[in-house]
Amino acid sequence: MMPVWQVALVLNLVFAVGLGLGYAGWGRRIAALDRDVDAARAQVERLEREREACAAGARAGEQQWEGRGVVRALYPQLLVVTHEEIRGLLPARTTSFRAALLTLREQLRVGDPIRFTLRGTVLDDAAVVAVERW
């Protein structure tokens, strides 16, 4: 016969180990679910950007991103902008974008705050297709 205190100790240990294992397993499942939700959300956002681009006359597979920033430099086919995060594309930073509009240099000045629209399949081929004052 085991004394009562040993029985209580063994039961407590069993409970502790069981709880720990359950918590760890559950935590892993929650993390996996979080990743799945993030991936699904990114997919939905991508489809939404493709739908917007398609509605604006883009080719199949192209997406459209909206950004806000300040013009830092203007070249004939390049626009350098310090921008906020462009969701689904870039964090906040200064980036040079290809300009699809050749009239940008006449419309804009260095220091202008702008809202702009980018269109492309990935960052490397994304180009500014619309600009307006912020």
Binding site: V70, R72, A73, V80, E84, A92, V110, G111, P113
Partner: protein, 189 residues
């Protein structure tokens, strides 16, 4: 400061304490020169908000642990040649781990445009809140143009009261520091 409790509210008492601390730091800052002294970091750079146009503002302390900061207080037209030089060397300084933050001594919402388009100035240029920064930092560095090199931990390590600073040399010294100072404790007693 219990003796002032009847005359000043708590925020005002803290303002007085901070002002006295700033004056003390400014007096000691006179010993800081244009050359980094390895292992000697004591002057914590006063924090401020970095505002570029309508973009979401950041703070100077956000650079801690990531990049050194060359804080440039400039006055046009006198500083134009130096600002052009800094614009040209920005890519090199960036690779060396330095961000430049330019603050006009005469606050202007069109500060970026006033610096001109060529060469392009791609570092942050303050378009609002400059007056407070200038008032604070001119306690440490006088003159219409001044540059302060702030290390990755947030300490002012070199001060130039003119536009001729050999920034790269001093940045190399900071990059070569084997045991950088600890991050400052901003808690005030």
């Amino acid at each position: 400061m219990p003796g002032f409790s009847r005359r000043l509210g708590e925020p005002q008492r803290w303002d007085v304490i901070n002002f006295i601390r700033a004056l003390g730091a400014a007096e000691r800052a006179k010993t800081l020169g244009p050359q980094v002294e390895p292992g000697r970091a004591w002057l914590v750079a006063p924090d401020f908000t970095v505002s570029v146009g309508p973009l979401a503002p950041t703070a100077l302390r956000d650079y801690r642990g990531r990049r050194m900061v060359l804080l440039v207080l400039y006055t046009l037209p006198g500083s134009r040649a130096r600002m052009t030089e800094l614009a040209r060397m920005y890519d090199v300084l960036w690779v060396m781990g330095v961000e430049i933050i330019a603050v006009p001594t005469r606050a202007s919402s069109t500060a970026i445009a006033e610096l001109g388009a060529s060469p392009p100035v791609l570092f942050p240029v303050m378009t609002s809140g400059a007056a407070d920064i200038v008032a604070t930092y001119q306690l440490l560095a006088t003159g219409p143009h001044a540059e302060l090199l702030i290390d990755r931990q947030g300490y002012v390590r070199a001060i130039w009261d003119d536009a001729g600073g050999a920034v790269q040399t001093e940045v190399e010294k900071l990059n070569a520091e084997k045991s950088p100072p600890p991050f400052p404790d901003d808690h005030v007693h």
